[in-house]
Amino acid sequence: MATQSDALGRSQFLERVRKAQARSRLSFRIWFALTWIVLVGGLVFALWITGNIDLSFINEWGPYVLGGAGLTILLCVTSIVFATILAIFGAIARLSGNPIINGVASLYVSLVRGTPLIVQIVFIYLALPQLDIRIPAIPAGIMALSFNYGAYMTEIFRAGIQAVPSGQREAAQALGMPEHLVMRRVVLPQAVRIVIPAIGNDFVAMIKDSALVSVIAVQELLWRAQNVGRQNFRTLEALLIAALVYWILTIVFSFFQERLEHRMARGDR
């Protein structure tokens, strides 16, 4: 009798704990959302009461500035593809036993990681013509972004390749697979799975870094915002639009990136 009521008490107790936990989770979420709403609302309200926000400007020029987002995304998608290709070769070379190949890749990584991205962008666009290498603005921007991210991603890919258990490679070798096939068929597919979330992460970072390409007159988001703001003497509104678009873009892509990461992690179990 006593044990029965004890068991009942325990399950009731556990039920209550669960409910309390759910309530506390719910209240956390509500307060969290409220904090955001209050902060963002307060900011919007503060800007509003200054009376310095010109809504007609936003109406008139908003679509043009927004149009730059397309070019920003195009720049980033193209660059991330090239960067990934560069990074795959870079990582294989960085792991190579051949001192020359390894040296070339290490120099690339060191050079790119040791210089600011903006210097690389301006160099490709402005300095190379002096050597008779003339690249139009948009391809120059894509080159600089791919080159830069390729170097950072080389290190990520190298870690990814090294994270593939050595037993995999040994097993393939034991089956008599030639070295290049071991890499292509066994190691790389597994490494890519490991690094895909990191590529997504870099893509989100690149959306923000791509704003630097505005210095070589590529008419992406920031270029448009700056020029439109300057021309109409409405810099605050113009930069607010640009900042908001970058923010939304990073939120959207981060969301996809997180889902991708989840999927990848599930496959691993």
Partner: protein
């Protein structure tokens, strides 16, 4: 308690002091100008206005003109922020006096037009790398520029003007405690409109701005808190430029020069000037 007080009062005192200095200071001798402009040369005392070299007829074969005709498009560099000469529209196209002049040149060449928007200092530095064919960007002909660029005859003339921020209280050159340009110190921003933008933003690094008269009028028309202090410091010859380091372009230069002469004669340039510069005809050479 003592340390606490020191930590609070010292920064506050510093801020108050700095604020007092800011408001009580007399007008600084810093003048804002666009990068690589003749206004900067003028302030530095090395402005050398010049005339275009004589232009002779040339063979079109192998000339940039032939390339442009084959391409069917002329690529023109322009500043996206130089109202009323050249500025953006909400649909992403450009309008303005320079834009209309360039479009008319393209029409008379029988080709389409495409605009590029490199920074001004890139255009004046030459070495365009064949990214654009010509500059129709209100460029003053100067001796140093003539070493790297070929110029046509001027298509119009603008007075350089001096503006002061309203809060400086300057209304005439006599209010300045220094001589212009000798006593002035130049500070440059990427393009002329940046100076107006900085004054509007309440920056106090400078109170004075030298730019083209129409550009300053435009800023005043956009409610920038500035006043025009001097109307005509000097007058500039503004012409179409072509990069000397680029391909052979004698025939193109001759053809564009001829078209500009034609546009002067048939009144096209006068009409465009009156349209964009509040009824003013800036296409007549001063003193003529």
């Amino acid at each position: 308690m003592n340390t606490w007080r020191r930590f609070v009062t010292v920064p506050i005192a510093a801020i108050v002091l700095a604020a007092c200095q800011g408001s009580a200071a007399e007008i600084t001798n810093v003048v804002c100008v666009g990068e690589a402009t003749t206004y900067l040369d003028w302030l530095n005392g090395d402005l050398e206005p010049d005339e275009p070299d004589p232009i002779a007829e040339a063979d079109e074969a192998g000339d940039l003109l032939e390339t442009i005709r084959e391409r069917g498009t002329i690529i023109v560099s322009t500043d996206p922020n130089y109202a009323p000469q050249s500025f953006l529209q909400p649909d992403g196209t450009f309008v303005g006096f320079d834009i209309d002049v360039a479009t008319e040149i393209a029409n008379r060449l029988g080709v389409d037009i495409q605009f590029e928007t490199p920074d001004w200092d890139l255009i004046t530095a030459g070495n365009w790398g064949e990214r654009w064919d010509i500059s129709v960007g209100s460029m003053t002909i100067t001796t140093p520029r003539k070493e790297i660029l070929s110029f046509t005859q001027p298509y119009y003339f603008t007075p350089a003007a001096l503006a002061a921020s309203e809060q400086s209280g300057v209304t005439s050159v006599d209010d300045l405690s220094f001589e212009l340009p000798e006593g002035a110190e130049a500070t440059t921003l990427p393009t002329d409109a940046n100076c107006a933008e900085a004054i509007q933003a309440g920056r106090e690094e400078f109170d004075l701005w030298v730019s083209a008269g129409p550009t300053i009028d435009e800023a005043i028309g956009s409610d920038i808190p500035i006043v025009k202090v001097s109307d005509s410091i000097y007058v500039e010859n503004l012409a179409v430029a072509i990069d000397k380091s680029g391909p052979e372009h004698a025939a193109l230069l001759y053809e564009i020069d001829r078209i500009i002469g034609e546009m002067h004669e048939d009144g096209t340039l006068t009409d465009l000037s009156e349209e964009w510069f509040d009824g003013e005809d800036l296409t007549q050479a001063p003193g003529e």
